[in-house]
Symmetry: C2
Subunit: 312 residues, 2 copies
């Protein structure tokens, strides 16, 4: 078998991951965990793929909102259509930053637009549209397709975990159904293992077995304390490995393991040359890492390559 | 390999199941379906296990409500504690029958009690309690443990489907977390493949990684048109096989397949000698079966044995 985690530099982070996986997989080890209990959960934006200069999903939503504003002049004076139509990146960037600082007023305005943007759409139509957006559009600065913005070292970690009996789930604040059409090809994670935010859904009868369609309302926003709740709802087990990168992942990281050992990983974006360097929205998580016993992954120091299609 | 479905009598029902599984598994067949899309969904009460003389979960809830009424005299005059304390089976049986006929007034009263019965309980405490109830108590008339009330022919069908690449899910109106502690041992279905109703959940921080606890409110009732919605939320695929037994399964049966072929199965309880004979709550489903193209499973004619521990 080839050496696991080839895009990870030798050092304490890589060693901690290898040692944990070896411990839980070894029946003679006191840390042994039966395969059925080896559940690992990963945030998506900023953990499995790039979230700068803005979350990838936001680009998808803005394209749809701009399209709506083109078709309906009355929407051009209202947020969030106004910002989408005028490509007002300042307003939009502020939404995420304010959210990370606990101010969700603009998030609510944006969500108000999002839920109207796709109301009445079937889940299949939305999936086709999301897949096309991610496959056909490039990242604004990185010179690669959006679907190629997954982090290669993280994909290797997913594979190494699976090879050792783990079931890996994505538990993201992003929209569940936006990710699902590409998680198999990018991460090897199937749709039933994708947990995320969602609009409310409704079953609409028709002569072809009916369809599931989106309603003009959020069902839940899978962030912060909602992450452990959604993990239980979907999986019915407490994970033994969790990995995130922001303040919204802190409860998920704490929940992993509970009374027993767990590996909790926090990605630190400190590499402006190969990706982006930022701490906004992750300050509390980074400050707490030492005291909480979380292992910090430095993009700069721990990863020999960053993106999936980098062969260097 | 031994012959599949040994507890099924030869006949059109068994043949339809074997033919469908063979068709979707055979790459040279026009009905071939790739393994990742072979999703099968099963109702639980009355489909995978016995639901008479009352749903098994109801016994669990009543025991808890009676215990609450014993500890608090004021509850003894209020429904549903009154019925639980006085063992008023008439009131209780009426709840389910009325629900099947579209009258949910008593269901709401009962749910009002249920959500209070477990508010503040952690999901682990509840799981321990449900597991003990099902393992330690006998069915009121069948002379077997509640955990032995699963239908052997259905367990064989689950195994046959899995052996042919299917992922089998339970999609029940019953409480998701009540079933999960026993679905692995009874059906071989793990907790992440159990979809059902649920109380609202909350993450409660503590020094051991926090806990997920129940709130005094329902989150959703997984029945009728909610079943397709929950199937999408949890699985992200449209099933190609669905099996139910009551009016509350009709939308799930219709949803299976959609524009492409699917096997839709409806269990008809027509065997008073070995189990129970009843149509209450299933009238519309049974009447619609022919026109909808659903295959009716007759307990009396199609099953050579009924329960998992019957060796005759």
């Amino acid at each position: 078998m080839s050496e696991p985690l080839p895009s990870w530099n030798d050092g304490p982070t890589r060693e901690a991951m290898l040692a944990f996986v070896e411990s839980v997989s070894d029946e003679s080890d006191p840390g042994y965990v039966p395969p059925v209990e080896r559940v690992a959960v990963f945030d998506n934006d900023g953990t499995l793929w790039c979230e700068k200069p803005m979350p990838i999903e936001l680009g998808f939503i803005l394209a749809r909102l701009a399209q709506m504003a083109e078709q309906d002049e009355a929407l051009r004076g209202r947020q969030p259509w106004k910002a989408a139509y005028e490509r007002d990146d300042a307003w939009l960037g502020g939404v995420v930053t304010k959210h990370y600082h606990g101010d969700d007023s603009d998030v609510k305005v944006l969500i108000g637009g999002i839920v109207q943007a796709f109301a009445g759409t079937t889940v299949e139509e939305y999936a086709t549209s999301a897949h096309a957006f991610l496959s056909e559009n490039d990242h604004p600065t990185l010179g690669r397709r959006l679907a190629d913005c997954g982090y290669r070292p993280m994909v290797e970690l997913l594979r190494h975990l699976e090879a050792n009996g783990f079931a890996c789930y994505i538990v993201s604040g992003g929209d569940r159904d936006f990710m699902r059409p590409v998680t198999s090809e990018i991460y090897g994670v199937p749709s039933e293992r994708v947990v995320g935010s969602s609009s409310a859904l409704r079953y609409r009868e028709d002569e072809n077995g009916g369809s599931v369609v989106y309603e003009a309302a959020m069902d839940f926003f899978d962030d912060g304390p909602i992450k452990p709740v959604r993990i239980w709802s979907r999986i019915g087990r407490r994970p033994i490995l969790a990995c995130g990168n922001s303040n919204g992942d802190m409860q998920m990281l704490r929940y992993a393991g509970g009374p027993r050992p767990a590996l909790r990983l926090l990605v630190s974006h400190d590499d402006a040359d190969r990706e982006f360097a930022y701490t906004a929205g992750a300050e509390h998580a980074l400050e707490s890492a030492d005291a909480e016993g979380w292992t910090v992954i430095s993009v700069k120091n721990d990863w020999s390559g960053v993106f999936a299609d980098v062969t260097a």
